[in-house]
Subunit: 320 residues, 3 copies
Amino acid sequence: MATSHKPQPPIEQLTAQVIESYRSEPGTSHLEATFLPSRARVIEAIEVLRRIIFPGFFEEKRITSANVQQRTAELIQQLHDLLYEQIHQTLRYELNRTQGKGKGDECKNCGQQAADLTLAFLSTIPGLRHNLALDVQAAFEGDPASVSTDETIFCYPGVDAIFIYRAAHEMFRLEVPLLPRIMSEYAHNETGIDIHPGATIGESFFIDHGTGVVIGETTIIGDRVKIYQGVTLGALSTKGGQAWRGRKRHPTIEDDVTIYGGAIILGGETVIHEGATIGGSLFITHSVPAGHYVSMKDPELKLRPPKKNWRPRSQKKSIE
Amino acid sequence: MATSHKPQPPIEQLTAQVIESYRSEPGTSHLEATFLPSRARVIEAIEVLRRIIFPGFFEEKRITSANVQQRTAELIQQLHDLLYEQIHQTLRYELNRTQGKGKGDECKNCGQQAADLTLAFLSTIPGLRHNLALDVQAAFEGDPASVSTDETIFCYPGVDAIFIYRAAHEMFRLEVPLLPRIMSEYAHNETGIDIHPGATIGESFFIDHGTGVVIGETTIIGDRVKIYQGVTLGALSTKGGQAWRGRKRHPTIEDDVTIYGGAIILGGETVIHEGATIGGSLFITHSVPAGHYVSMKDPELKLRPPKKNWRPRSQKKSIE
Amino acid sequence: MATSHKPQPPIEQLTAQVIESYRSEPGTSHLEATFLPSRARVIEAIEVLRRIIFPGFFEEKRITSANVQQRTAELIQQLHDLLYEQIHQTLRYELNRTQGKGKGDECKNCGQQAADLTLAFLSTIPGLRHNLALDVQAAFEGDPASVSTDETIFCYPGVDAIFIYRAAHEMFRLEVPLLPRIMSEYAHNETGIDIHPGATIGESFFIDHGTGVVIGETTIIGDRVKIYQGVTLGALSTKGGQAWRGRKRHPTIEDDVTIYGGAIILGGETVIHEGATIGGSLFITHSVPAGHYVSMKDPELKLRPPKKNWRPRSQKKSIE
C-alpha cells in the first residue's frame, strides 16, 4: 500500500558508485575470493556439538538407551560434515591470504588435511565432556543460588562460555586458522564473556554472572579458579600494537584463586599465586603472594548530608 | 564440490567413544529423562507475552478496536498452551530429579497442577501491565536522550530486562521450578542485564544502558529507584557456596535511590536508605543514611606530562 | 501427549481482563495506530547493508567480477525497498505522535519524503565504506592478537558496533525518527557496545573487546582514538532528566587519545586533549591536558596474609 508513491530509484547509478568504491577500498572487499568460512555454519556446528556434549538437554525428542547409539552417530556425522567443509574452506582461504591468490585453489592435500583435522577435533569430545563435567560441578558448588547441575547447563552463561571456549581452544591447538576466533566471538556475543581461544585454563573453572569478563590470549589459569562478572585478565599498555604479537602479555592465575567482580589484573609478568583472593573492583599490575587476600585500603568516600529541609518522601506523604 | 576428497570418517568408533563417556560422566547427560523443559519454547512464550503486554508494538498487522478482541484471545490461547506444556514438563522433571526416576512419569495430578499454575500466571497479566506502564514512564522521564515512551518500549534494553524480570518473578512466586531462571537468562543474553527472578523490585524502576548490571536473588529494591550500567547489587565473599543458600546475601535499596554506573554494592545487611545517591564506580559494603550523596574522596590521580619533544600530531602537520 | 488432562482455560474471561487493562493503561498500548516501524525489518536492512559494505564476506555464493554488478544491484534494490517502507512508516508514525492521530494517515508528501531520504541514505554508502576501511585497519593495527583485517571484519564486535553506529549516525543526520535508535540498540544487543547514534566520531576509531562500552548522545570523538571494554563516556548526574535534553552532556575526546578498560569519563565540559592516555578503571570528571598520561596514584591495597596453618593445596598433596 505504501508503494503507490514510490518512484523508481536510480539503482544503476548507486550500484556503479558502490562498485567503484570496491575498487578504491579493496581491503574491505572479498571479491574473487573463494573459500571464506561461513559464520552461520560455524555456529551451527557449535550447536550440534552442544547436543553431543550434553546429550538430552537440548533435544526435542527423548534420548533413551534404545536410540542413543543412532542419535549420537547422526549428530557426529552432521558435526563431521560441517567441520570438514569449514576447515577445508579455511585452509584454502589461508593459503590464498598468505601465499598469494590461487594457491588455495590449487591446494591438492587440503582435503586430506581437513579430514585429518576434523577427526583430530572429534576425538577430543570425550576429553571435553570430562572437563565440562568438572566445570558444571564447580558452577553448582560455587553459586549459592543454583539448585542443580542441570540448571547450570541449562541457564548459566558462564557454563555456556566455558563450553565454547574449551571447544575453540582444541581447534586453536590444532592450528586451524580463523575458526577458533569465530567460535569465541559467538560465545562473546551470546554471553558477554570474551575468552580468547589461545588462553590456557585448568580444571573446574567457574565464571559467575560473567558479563564483561575479558580473558586475553596469553593468560594462564590453574585449577579450581573462580571469577565474577567484569573481571579483566588483560595486557598492560600495548602501544606497540602488532609488535607485541606472540609475547606473554596477560597474567598467570594459579590454582584455587578467587577474583571478585570488576577486578582488573594486567601484565604478562603478573602472577596471582596459589589460593590468593582478589577483592572486587581492584586494579592489579603486580604479583600477589600465595594465600593472601587483597582488598582496597579504607575506601575513602565522601558523604554529603542532605539539605536541611530535605525529608524522605515517605514522611512527606504521612504529613500531607 | 569440496566433498570429492572426503574420506569416510570412523563414525562408529567415535560414537562408541562418546557413548562410553556418557556412562563415565553421567552428570552431564540427560538420558532416559523425559520432561525436560525446552529453552526455545520458553523464549517463544516470552515473545507472545510481549505482544499481549504491549499490544500493537510488535505486531505485523495493525491492531484496531475491531480485531483487538480476537487477536488478544488468540495470543492468550497460544501463551496458555506454551506455558501449560512447559510447566507440566518441568513439574514432572522436578519430581524425577528430587524423588527418583519414574516419579514424574507416574504423577497423576501434575496435569491439574500445571493447568492451575498456568491460569494463576495468566491472571497476573493486567497487574504486570500496570507495573510496566510505570516502568516505561520512569524510563522516559529518567533519560534526557529519550524522545517518547514508545521509543523506550521499542529500543530500551532496560525496559526489555524489566519486562522479562517482572514476568519471571511472577513465575518464581508461583514456585515453578527452572522456568523463571530460563526466562531471566534469556533477558541476560539479550540485554547484558542479569536480574535474578527472586529479587524483589518496587514500582517505577529504571535501568539506563544496563550492560553488566547484576541484581542478586535476595536483593530488595523500593519504588522509583534508578540505576545505570555496570551496577552490581551482590553478595559479599561467598566462600561458603551452597551453605549460603536461602539467606539474605544481597543489599536493600530503599525508595528514591539513584546508583551511578559501575557502583558495586555488596552484602545482605547493607541498606541504602531512602533518597540516597551513590556515585559512579564506588565500592560499598556498608549502609548509607537517607538523603546522603556518596562519592569518591579526592580521586587521587597521577598526571605524567609528555616527553619534552612531544608535540600534538596536529601541530606536527602544520609545521611539516 | 501432555494434553490429555488439559482443562479448557477461561480464555474469554482472561481476554476481557487484559483488554480492560488496555483501556486503563493506554500508554503501553498501540491500538488503532498504523505505521509503527518494524524492528525485525530494520535488522534485516542492516544485514543487507553489511553485505553491500563488506562484499563477499557474508555471502553464501562467491562474488566475482562476473556477478558483482548484478549481485550489488540486487542488494541495493532490496535495501532500498526495506528502508523506503520503514522510513515511510516512521514519518507517518511521527506525525500521528506529534500532531495528533490521523495526521500520518492523511500525509500526502510522506511518500516522496521517504523516497528522498532513502536515496540520501543510499548515497552515503561509498563514504561509509571509506570510513569503515580506516576503522578496520585501526582494529588490525591496534590489537596484537589480530591476524588480518579479514579477521576483524569477521569476528570483532568493535568493528560490528562501529559499522552499525556509522550507518545509524547517517540516518540520525537525515533526522529520520526512531530508526537510528532501533539500529544502535541492535548493535548494543549484539555486542554489548552502546553508542548513541547522535555521537560524533572521527576516523580510524577502534574499540577492543567492547562489552560495557557506553558512548552518550553529545559525545565528540576525534581521529585515531582507541578505547577498551567497559569505558563510559557519559553525563554527570542528570537529576534534571528531560530538562537536560539537547544540551552537551557528554565529554569531548580529541585526536590520538587512548582510554583503557573500565575508565569512566563524565561531563559535557570535560575534554581529553590530543594524545592523552587515560589509565584503566579511572573516574574522570575534569579535563586532561594534551599528551599527558593519567593513572591512579599509588593504588592503596590491603594485603592480608593467610592464616598460620594455611598451606597451598599443591604442597598438601605432595606431603600426603
